[in-house]
């Protein structure tokens, strides 16, 4: 029998605020254990949480960018469970009346656009972190109270590949909006996956399993493939899939059952009496809407139209906002989108990841100037690569490097003619062979002339003179 998976994804994204969601403790990552704590985020009796306005704005931005409907009134609740990383004994989270719902994003799969619906976006606080020792466990509450949004998709995803594309798009939108840095290693972007399988053609969903806390896109894809295989095997053997929470083990490449929290799934939610309902009036939403930047999909479409780029090049250049900005700054200087694209994609991105281009020693100004030097014929493309290397090492302007190293291209016809004549005289034997029919030797002559000029001769002129002289000889 043929099966298809039905996949839903939950993303927890850390909002990039300076302070925590309900208190003024800093959200910075590199701090000593429990250094960023206060009575509010450690759950001392008698203190009151006060909602961080920017966290709400960030959440609304994401809701708008994903076409969600924003609820004018939403409600925070207490979600109860006992775990040492949760000092209050409950987590404050939207529940029941969420911040936003019914949105969608578009992903591109093999050139096809597919819409994935979002069920909802809600706000909540993060818990602390436990470290397990031999005899005791140790709790660090620096993360407790970090603002998160949870983005829940509808079960619209049908393959591990689509899941990967969905997560990358969500991360890209968050980063374009600058509301989350999307750092999976530091835990500011985490995902849980709900997977079930059903025979192709069946309408009802199968019984699903939730795989929690997977910290890379590759692992998400692998975990989904593993779960599909496992669940199909269970069904084929005539048994039933058990609804449960599983964890991904990246060393063994498999998921395993996590039974410990099973029976505690009674969270006894009730409205948080310490927080007022959150009122988001339409004019506030309008105000935030005006601050939304151009997102990657819009930017991609514009790049294709405005700069005549291929869809592939445009999607590479717009995968990161700072990279797209870098590209546009280079084009502004050199006015040659195609040349800028080639240099950024093949040279710059070989040295830096898309997220690091921004802080590379080569500024967009300098790269633009380098391309101008090529276009004006001041240096050849080959010399330009050498200059590029120097720019990488020193961060200097291309003109300075060209001048200091005397790399200006020789375009003087008398000089080039002399070089050509010299080479043809020295290589008399090969010139005879060339005339005897070995036309391939032409390239060899070009190489010899270039060598003599230390790579500085204008290649087009070298070609021209060689042709002329060989014909005449």
């Amino acid at each position: 029998m043929n099966y298809e998976p039905v996949i839903g994804l939950e993303v927890h994204a850390q909002l990039k605020t300076q302070s925590k969601i309900f208190c003024g403790c800093s959200t910075k990552f590199d701090a000593k254990e429990n250094e960023l704590t206060c009575p509010v985020c450690t759950g001392m009796p008698g203190c009151l949480p006060v909602l961080n306005k920017r966290a709400v704005e960030f959440a609304i931005k994401m809701a708008l960018a994903t076409q969600c409907r924003i609820n004018e009134k939403s409600l925070f609740a207490r979600k109860h469970y006992f775990y040492p990383d949760l000092p209050k004994g409950y987590q404050i989270s939207h529940y029941d009346k969420h911040l936003a719902q019914k949105g969608h994003i578009e992903i591109s799969i093999g050139g096809q656009i597919k819409k994935i619906r979002l069920h909802r976006i809600h706000m909540e606080e993060d818990a602390g972190k436990n470290i397990h020792g031999t005899f005791s466990s140790y709790v660090n509450l620096n993360r407790a109270g970090i603002p998160l949004i949870e983005i829940v998709s509808e079960p619209d995803v049908r393959s591990s590949q689509e899941a990967g594309a969905y997560l990358r798009e969500i991360r890209s939108i968050l980063r374009y909006l600058e509301v989350c840095d999307g750092n999976m290693e530091e835990g500011s972007f985490r995902c849980d996956v709900n997977v079930s399988v059903r025979p192709v053609g069946q309408k009802e969903f199968g019984i699903r399993c939730e795989v929690k806390n997977i910290n890379s896109f590759r692992f998400v894809e692998k975990a989904i493939e593993y779960e599909m295989g496992r669940q199909i095997e269970v069904l084929e053997s005539g048994a039933k899939v058990i609804q449960e929470t599983r964890l991904w083990d990246s060393d063994q490449n498999k998921t395993f059952s996590m039974r410990s929290k099973e029976e505690a799934h009674d969270y006894r939610y009730f409205p948080e009496p310490d927080l007022h309902p959150l009122i988001v009036e339409p004019h506030w939403v309008e105000e935030i809407k005006r601050t939304l930047p151009e997102l990657s999909s819009e930017k991609k479409t514009r790049f294709i139209k405005m700069y005549q780029l291929s869809e592939y090049d445009a999607s590479l250049l717009t995968q990161e906002k700072s990279l797209a900005q870098y590209f546009e700054s280079v084009v502004e200087i050199c006015k040659e989108p195609k040349l800028a694209t080639n240099w950024i994609l093949s040279e710059l991105l070989r040295e830096f990841g898309p997220e690091q281009v921004e802080s590379s020693p080569i500024t967009p100004q300098h790269l633009g100037e380098l391309l101008v030097l090529i276009m004006k014929g001041t240096i050849s493309g080959k010399i330009a690569k050498h200059v590029f290397e120097k720019m990488l090492q020193t961060g200097q302007a291309p003109q300075a490097i060209v001048q200091k190293e005397g790399l200006v291209q020789v375009s003087d016809s008398t000089q080039i003619e002399a070089l050509v004549e010299e080479v043809l005289k020295e290589q008399k034997v090969f010139v005879d062979k060339y005339h005897a029919g070995q036309a391939k030797l032409f390239g060899f002559f070009v190489g010899e002339v270039m060598k003599k000029s230390h790579g500085k001769a204008n290649p087009a002129m070298v070609n021209e003179f060689l042709k002329k002289k060989l014909k005449g000889a």
Partner: protein, 97 residues
């Protein structure tokens, strides 16, 4: 709704409380009579009244996103039953697998 012994045992488990059989017996009776009072309230028709989670009119109370100095660890940590090298020490958490 009637409070049963099973429900009290379930709630005790969720709240990490250890109850003796006598306590389970007593709480079952006490909670059951309490619930009787709510039964009485439930007879009122509140279908068209919003629940009053808060007594004040709904207005947003926000703080600006500004970092305020956190508590000093030396002041905060002694409040917890045990600590070690800046971390809060708890009995070993065992993840069943």
């Amino acid at each position: 709704m009637h409070i049963t012994k099973q429900l009290v045992e379930h709630l005790a488990k969720l709240s990490l409380l250890e109850l003796s059989p006598e306590e389970v017996e007593r709480y079952t009776q006490e909670l059951d009579s309490l619930m009787g009072y709510f039964e009485k309230l439930n007879r009122l028709d509140t279908a068209h009244i919003d629940p009053t989670f808060h007594v004040e009119p709904p207005t947003n109370v926000f703080r600006e996103d500004e970092v305020r100095e956190s508590f000093k660890r030396e002041d905060l940590l002694p409040v917890f039953p045990a600590q070690e090298d800046g971390a809060i020490k708890v009995p070993k958490i065992i993840e069943a697998s």
